[in-house]
């Protein structure tokens, strides 16, 4: 076990009583509770922690938070996940991590040969080459090289949850601005949610040494956190990132390893009345040759490591800046024992308030870093010809307010010349920015803004709040003079460290005419990495602006989009996984069907229904034939519960049905029903079903299973939007009625045997009538409809009674050989009858005439939905595809459903297709239905099914194979 050479003897927010063992790239190290993987690696002086994406250059840790562009690791074991910035990986005991994109390790990486090829592979090189003979030749090796981490493996302990939250005010960020805002709004009684992605609250205060009032800033933070936790109107989350800002103030939060739960992640959908983005600011890189060398770090990160983790990132440092913020950092570095050799400031004059922070330190104003020495890590820099030995170069290119969320809300961001950064502009939603996220770069200003924004937000919510007395907070003013690219910056000056995009790449893009910033992004891939350019994007914009003679504001930004930082897909799906990924519906008999061996299918509208009930040793076809024969010859029973059912009631109910059906329903007498077709106003069939008149002003409309909701919507919309003055009310009774349909020549006997007070005689209870009464002592409504072509009784009961009814029918039918039938046999039976089926014959292109159902189009009614369109379409006189029956000349030849018909079976445009093909139990052969151009006129002739492996000749016949007169169903 190695000691930790970089760790300071005391200080920091780590728990030295809890050492932790971990492995990185195969070697063992120690850190402490409170460390991140990055701080622990630095404490162990591991310098090369990564290899770059394209050139495999050695890289070290550069940042201290989610902005980290360089060190991405892959975690193994229970925590397995890839492409994690080491700066955001909380150190745990036994953690195993390795660098991505390097083999065998970051320190010794074979891919490094790409460095030698660098000049041949500038931005966009692949557009210019790899064309011959074919991209395919090159793609596999390119794909293997790309991709950083490996794809995650399946892991069993992935608990994720997604939940909703509602809040008056959502505050993103628990730095001083966010905490102050939460205190003000919380004290005013508003519902507040404050969400921060760090392990603990405090934001930048964790990394700096400042005071608030008369105590250290972190004391103030602790007091604020305590006060908030005592308010039950406040929810405070740490380790939680606001990663998306969507329309209508919906924000998404990803909470990692939530407390008091076994979850690995929780996703919050937060609907907020008001939002304050107090997300702080992110430091920019400096752009000079060799700025990616291990040992070059963001100054704020170096400062964070000494203050928060008691880690010296190097022994002897230089500092390179264009702004004031590094002076406090340099002072903190020096206090921690880092020997600060010099501060190189590109500005000609350094403000006194900055100088005052580093008395005695050498400041090289008006200078830039010329050259970086050291191949595998920094050894020295050259400034104006002078070599400064150092193993650490702390750089700051200025600060970018973290406007990501603000911009995601589609609010404007604008260029601020004074801050040399983009800042929030006009808001597009109820959002305010506070603190460094709004360009308020000092602690006092952040506190004041946090309070002021909270007051404004609370006022907008209609609440009164008091401006608190603001504690005194001394901080250094912030001034900056941008240096977008240092003199001499070229092919090894990295703008996007992660994607290896250099100044030379940007210049090439501009030279080749990819001059819009969006082109620059896409041509070079700058900003398209996992960090989405947090440290680099504005530098790219600055570099482009400089070269185009524009301001960065004129160049503009690329679009900020979610997520702010990457989010596990598991957290987004939450609990929806496996068997409950989609809803499923059951009837009261679903259990029975399964117990009786039914093969269950998805049957539309989320229902799962029996397809067939195979008996031991039976093939699929055997079962279906047996079930179909049972109905044709004896009696079958099926569960018809899912059929859509609606009560339509009111003075205008009849008139309404006449309008939405093609035929007349208002002439029905109570106790009777009628089959009807519903068209869209475009004149296409929408649905079919039987409507019954229950009373003068009351109808029961039934719909197909799959279309039930669509028909309901259709009816409701027509009524409420087009005919609000009509008195019609619709009640969905689909789930109030379940049914068992008993069908076949012996159906009447079975029903009678069950015991009923309904007169079942043909004369007393004709086809298409219904009767209320009891069956097997249960209250029922029995309906004489038939979808099989046989005598059929649909016995409707309350769902709670269906199992009893069903058992009674099975019992009563036993002597008749009753058997349950599934949807496959039903399909055979309806095809034999030529009954239409939605999804087969009705595919959104047919009208009733096409199906030979012109009779259903009322000639009496002046208008009904679809009438005008059917007439208009037909007036063009174009030939239509019409429903016909088909019999393959070879009776044993099954035709795949969907197969095309072409003239003579030739390889030509189709003239129709086979909508259904079944083994007919009445004809003992394959029969089918087809839609065929001018089909009806061709009945008696032949047509040809064209399959990839042959042609099937079929004889055309009327589309009915069984009982054309319908005597059996009326019997």
């Amino acid at each position: 076990m190695a000691a930790e050479p970089g760790r300071l003897p005391e200080g920091g927010r780590i728990d030295r009583s809890r050492p932790l063992q971990f492995r990185f790239d195969g070697r063992a190290y120690t850190g402490f509770e409170g460390d991140t993987l990055a701080s622990a690696l630095l404490a162990n002086r591991v310098r090369i922690t990564a290899r770059s994406f394209k050139y495999h250059r050695p890289r070290g840790v550069m940042g201290a938070g989610p902005e980290e562009p360089a060190t991405l690791v892959e975690l193994e074991g229970d925590l397995a996940s890839g492409n994690r910035p080491a700066t955001t990986v909380r150190l745990t005991d036994g953690l195993v991590a390795r660098s991505v994109n390097a083999w065998p390790s970051a320190s010794f990486d074979l891919g490094a040969v790409n460095q030698a090829l660098a000049r041949f592979i500038p931005a966009g090189f692949y557009y210019k080459t790899f064309k011959w003979p074919d991209w395919h030749l090159y793609e596999p090796s390119i794909r293997k090289a790309a991709g950083l981490a490996g794809a995650p493996r399946e892991s069993s302990n992935d608990g994720y949850e997604a939940r909703h939250a509602h809040t008056d005010l959502l505050i993103a960020g628990a730095g001083p601005a966010g905490l102050m805002a939460a205190l003000v709004a919380g004290r005013a009684g508003a519902r507040v949610m404050i969400v921060d992605e760090g392990a603990e609250a405090g934001g930048s205060l964790l990394n700096r040494r400042l005071s608030i009032g008369d105590q250290p800033a972190m004391g103030w933070v602790a007091a604020a956190v305590a006060e908030l936790s005592a308010m039950d109107n406040v929810i405070h989350l740490q380790n939680a990132t606001v990663w998306a800002y969507r329309e209508h103030n919906l924000l998404m939060v990803h909470e990692r390893s939530p407390e008091n739960s076994s979850l690995s992640g929780r996703s919050w959908r937060v609907r907020a009345g008001q939002v304050i983005t107090a997300t702080g600011a992110i430091e920019r890189m400096m752009v000079f040759e060799g700025n990616d060398r291990p040992g070059v770090m963001l100054a704020s990160a170096v400062q964070a490591y000494v203050n928060r983790w008691a880690v010296r990132s190097g022994q002897r440092a230089a500092v390179f800046t264009n702004n004031d913020s590094v002076y406090a950092a340099a002072a903190d570095m020096a206090r921690a024992g880092i020997d600060v050799a010099a501060i190189i400031d590109s500005r000609d004059s350094v403000p006194d308030h900055a100088r005052a922070l580093v008395p005695g330190m050498e400041i090289l104003a008006g200078h830039t870093v010329g050259k970086v020495h050291g191949r595998r890590g920094l050894r020295a820099v050259t400034v104006a010809g002078r070599r400064i030995d150092c193993d650490l170069l702390a750089v700051s290119g200025g600060w970018n307010p973290a406007v990501h969320l603000y911009s995601q809300s589609r609010s404007r961001i604008v260029w601020d010349e004074r801050l040399a950064s983009f800042v929030p502009g006009d808001a597009a939603q109820a959002v305010l920015a506070a603190g460094a996220a709004n360009g308020a770069m000092t602690l006092g200003a952040a506190l004041a803004e946090g309070a002021a924004r909270a007051l404004a937000a609370v006022a907008a919510l209609g609440r009164a709040a008091a401006m608190p007395a603001l504690p005194e907070a001394v901080d250094t003013p912030y001034t900056v003079a941008p240096l977008w690219t240092a003199p001499g910056a070229a092919a090894k000056s990295f703008l996007d460290v992660q994607n290896d995009v250099t100044v030379a790449d940007i210049e090439l893009a501009l030279r080749e005419g990819y001059s819009n910033i969006e082109h620059v992004k896409r041509y070079t891939t700058g900003g398209m990495g996992i960090d989405q350019g947090k440290t680099g994007n504005v530098n790219i914009i600055g570099a482009v602006a400089e070269r185009q003679g524009k301001t960065p504001g004129e160049v503009g930004v690329t679009t900020f989009r979610p997520p702010y930082t990457p989010v596990d897909f598991g957290a987004i799906a939450g609990r929806r996984a496996g068997p409950v990924v989609l809803p499923y519906r059951h009837t009261p008999l679903t259990g029975w069907h399964k117990d009786h061996g039914a093969v269950m299918y998805e049957a539309g509208a989320r229902w799962r229904r029996p397809g067939y009930y195979p008996r031991p040793g039976e093939s699929f076809q055997d079962s279906v034939n047996r079930e179909a024969r049972t109905v044709r010859e004896g009696v079958g029973i099926y569960d018809g519960s899912p059929l859509g059912k609606y009560e339509v009631k009111g003075r205008d109910a009849g008139r309404f049905l006449d309008w939405i059906y093609t035929n007349v329903m208002s002439s029905l007498t109570a106790g009777n029903g009628r089959y009807g077709l519903m068209l869209t106003d475009d004149g296409m069939i929408l649905d079919d079903g039987v409507s019954f008149r229950l009373a003068e002003d009351r109808f029961l409309v039934s719909t197909s299973t799959g279309n039930a909701d669509a028909v309901w919507q259709h009816m409701e919309k027509l009524l409420r939007i087009e005919r609000p003055d009509w008195q019609v009310r619709i009640t969905n009774v689909t789930s109030q009625w379940a049914n068992a349909t008993i069908c076949g020549p012996k159906a009447r006997e079975v029903l009678a045997a069950m015991g009923t007070d309904i007169d079942l005689a043909q004369g007393a209870f004709p086809f298409m009538a219904f009767r209320d009464g009891t069956v097997a002592d249960l209250p029922t409504r029995v309906v004489r409809v038939s979808f099989t072509g046989e005598l059929s009784f649909e016995v409707n009961v309350r769902p709670r009674d269906l199992p009893t009814l069903w058992e009674a029918a099975m019992e009563a039918g036993r002597s008749h050989g009753i058997a349950p039938i599934g949807s496959e046999a039903n399909h055979v039976l309806r095809v034999e009858k030529g009954f239409l089926s939605l999804g087969h014959e009705v595919d959104g292109t047919v009208d009733p005439h096409d199906l030979g159902m012109g009779w259903v189009m009322s000639k009496k009614k002046p208008d009904f939905l679809g009438k005008r369109s059917v007439a208009l379409r037909r007036s063009a006189g174009r030939p239509r595809r019409e429903l016909v029956g088909i019999r393959p000349l070879d009776p044993d030849r099954q035709i795949p459903e969907g197969a095309p018909l072409t003239p003579g079976g030739r390889k030509e445009a189709t003239e129709g297709f086979v909508t259904a093909c079944v083994w007919s139990v009445v004809e003992s052969r394959w029969v089918g239905l087809a839609l065929l151009t001018d089909g009806r006129a061709r009945i008696g002739g032949r047509a040809y099914v064209r399959l990839p492996d042959g042609i099937i000749e079929v004889a055309l016949c009327p589309p009915v194979f069984h009982d054309p007169e319908g005597e059996r169903l009326r019997s």
């Binding site: 209508h248 919507q713 409420r720 087009e722």
Partner: protein
């Protein structure tokens, strides 16, 4: 995800609603009185502005009302919600 202020229920998540299409002009009482071209337009040509558009939403998973809302197609801001057409 929109937040729709139902006159009956108050502000509710879009997931409670079913989209019912753009508000087309009222269906003519007597379609046969229209010439073909006008009928085709009525059926097929919706208003498609960059800006406010009226559309129907069914509060199926709420109070069951049909609502007409005026929503900006660019910003998605909802300026008006009313019952019926």
């Amino acid at each position: 995800m929109l937040l729709i202020d139902c006159p009956f229920c108050g502000k509710r998540n879009e997931s409670e609603f079913v989209y019912g299409g753009p508000a087309m002009p009222a269906r003519p009482a007597d379609p046969s009185a229209l010439d073909d071209a006008h009928w085709v337009d009525h059926l097929t040509v919706p208003p498609n502005p960059m800006g406010p558009v009226e559309e129907r939403w069914w509060h199926l998973r709420g109070c069951g009302s049909w609502l007409t809302i005026r929503r900006d197609t660019v910003t998605h801001a909802i300026a008006e919600v009313r019952h019926g057409g």
